[in-house]
């Protein structure tokens, strides 16, 4: 189901959380709302879910206005950052909640819950309570609970934010595969650019209540609309009027046309990558990303004077 958000504004006691936001989410797509915390992305998700009412603007599901439709009638599945597990219910009862509310026959509920337990790899945990599960298991339970009612849209608010890095990575891949399987229109909120670029087909960058840019991960990385987007989706440094990514800078050990002199301050080898921190004559810090082979060839070390040649740079109209 396609989702359209049109000119939505929302403020909380004087704080403008959303300022004339418009967004189109194609049917069956996986979209990320990416931005710094407090930027309004969670509020946008809650407006789509019907958990918050916008001050103005409209929300449309498949072309139909749902702006005033209460959350319980929107048919959305919502997954919360801190799981929102029903603590007094077993895993089975948590997952069955939406089906029981809809008064489905007992046998149907049981079969559907068994199916979902298998889908989220919690089959052996059905009779446990949420307190007895790990964070990753709780979040998988919350996902199963949201999917149980066959939602038209799946909305996830920082779903992996409270998990440690390994589990996070695992669940991220799992979500992407799940979404390909179930094919439900999915929107998830994250402040982690890597997560957004890796998982989503479409990314909307939100900052200070406004959408800065919407596009594919490639669009955002290669053709950022402004310095904010460029800076948010990856590391960047400023050379004069241009913005440069660390991997678009070549390190030379001798002067060349258009090259700038720089002093190496630090060299960090991270696997195959080598991260070099350098500083220009005017004090500008310029991070550089190069390969281990290249670093070895030039014998890069702190205190060394090198020349930087920029391969690709972007300038933005003021």
């Amino acid at each position: 189901m396609a989702i359209d958000v049109r000119n939505v504004s929302k403020s909380f006691s004087g704080f403008q959380a959303l300022d004339d936001v418009s967004l189109s989410v194609p049917d069956g797509s996986l979209t990320a709302l990416l931005g710094p915390s407090g930027g309004g992305k969670s509020t946008l998700l809650r407006v789509i879910a019907g958990l918050e009412a916008p001050d103005s603007g409209a929300v449309l599901f498949s072309g139909e206005t749902v702006t005033t439709l209460p959350a319980q009638e929107r048919g959305v599945g919502f997954v919360f950052q801190h799981y929102a597990a029903f603590k007094h219910m077993t895993v089975r009862d948590n997952i069955a909640f939406g089906l029981k509310i809809r008064r489905r026959p007992k046998a149907e509920v049981r079969d559907r819950v068994d199916e979902l337990l298998a889908l989220v790899h919690l089959t052996g945990w059905a009779d446990r309570y949420p307190a007895q599960l790990s964070g990753g298991q709780r979040q998988r339970m919350a996902l199963a609970r949201a999917l149980a009612v066959a939602p038209r849209v799946l909305l996830l608010d920082e779903p992996f934010g409270a998990l440690d890095a390994t589990v996070r990575k695992e669940l991220r891949d799992w979500l992407r595969r799940l979404q390909e399987e179930v094919h439900v229109t999915t929107i998830f909120v994250t402040h982690d650019q890597e997560e957004a670029l890796e998982v989503a087909q479409q990314v909307a960058v939100i900052n200070a209540g406004r959408i800065e840019q919407t596009g594919t991960p490639d669009d955002l990385y290669e053709r950022p609309a402004n310095p904010f987007v460029m800076g948010f989706v990856g590391p960047v440094s400023r050379l004069g009027d241009a913005w440069v990514r660390p991997h678009d800078i070549e390190v030379l050990d001798d002067h060349a046309d258009g090259a700038i002199e720089a002093l190496i301050e630090r060299v960090a080898r991270v696997g195959f990558e080598v991260r070099v921190e350098s500083v220009l004559g005017d004090g500008t810090a310029v991070p550089i990303l190069t390969t281990r082979d290249r670093a070895d060839e030039l014998e890069l070390r702190p205190g060394q004077i090198v020349w930087l040649r920029v391969h690709r740079e972007r300038a933005f109209a003021a």
Binding site: A49, L51, Q72, V76, F78, F80
Partner: protein, 268 residues
């Protein structure tokens, strides 16, 4: 461990226990001792007189009316204070605490001013044949008033702590407001409600001042257990006063016992 710190720890313990003994344990023990000084017989007789039995059942009635009323009001008010978005919340929250601050005697007098025969609402009620002061309704009002804040004060912090996420989740899963309350909110706050109910019960059982003022202390009619104790005491029937006190103390102990049991279950 150095001797001095050990000595100071023991002194502290002795002081605390001594304080507790002097104020609480010894007086309560004395009541029990005096009651059963001459055996079970006289004590049993004293608490089975018609006046004593009436007082006992009147107290139970007060509790049976005040506790459910204050539980329903308390949970509703706590929800309104924590989840609601409305003006004047701070003021209402302060008003809820009023019974903690105002002396029960003042509460009683205030009720007479409003509901007495010459009072504001009392005149109208009297002309319709309803008697509030010097009768059960007035005593129920007084008991409800003095035990009002307990459920609210116990439930508010629990509601704050559980947050709205579980309720939001229930809503997105299709639950109506009523379904969300019964299936999610109430189970989540049940311990807070239970504590509130127990404290309300204890307070309603022991209420004296406000009830004394509005009841008129008519023996066999508007005399609760606490009033009965005072009346027996002033009539120099010490056995009667002590025996009735023991009944009240036992009820209170049962309440405390329930609370301790709940505490254990909660920890499990």
């Amino acid at each position: 461990m150095p001797a001095s710190s050990r000595a100071s720890r023991l002194t502290l313990r002795a002081a605390a226990l001594g304080y507790l003994a002097a104020l609480l344990a010894i007086p309560v023990a004395m009541v029990f001792y005096r009651t059963f000084e001459h055996g079970l017989g006289p004590a049993w007789e004293a608490v089975t007189t018609p006046a004593a039995q009436h007082a006992f059942w009147l107290t139970v009635t007060m509790v049976a009316i005040a506790v459910p009323l204050n539980t329903i009001f308390g949970v509703g008010m706590a929800l309104a204070l924590v989840r609601g978005r409305w003006r004047g919340k701070t003021l209402v929250s302060a008003i809820v605490d009023l019974p903690f601050a105002v002396s029960p005697v003042v509460v009683g007098l205030a009720l007479i001013l409003v509901y007495g025969n010459t009072g504001w609402i009392g005149t109208w009620l009297a002309s319709n044949g309803i008697r509030v002061i010097f009768s059960t309704p007035g005593m129920v009002l007084a008991t409800v008033f003095v035990s009002l804040p307990f459920v609210v004060r116990e439930v508010v912090p629990v509601l704050r702590e559980i947050g709205v996420e579980q309720e939001d989740a229930a809503r997105t899963l299709g639950a109506s407001a009523a379904q969300t309350f019964w299936r999610i909110t109430l189970p989540a706050i049940r311990w807070g409600v239970a504590y509130g109910v127990i404290l309300t019960t204890a307070r309603a059982l022991g209420e004296f001042g406000a009830v004394a003022v509005v009841s008129g202390k008519i023996e066999g009619q508007t005399e609760t257990m606490t009033l009965f104790v005072e009346q027996r005491f002033q009539a120099f029937d010490l056995t009667g006063a002590y025996a009735a006190s023991v009944v009240l103390a036992l009820l209170a102990l049962a309440v405390i016992g329930t609370m301790t049991l709940l505490d254990r279950r909660k920890e499990n």
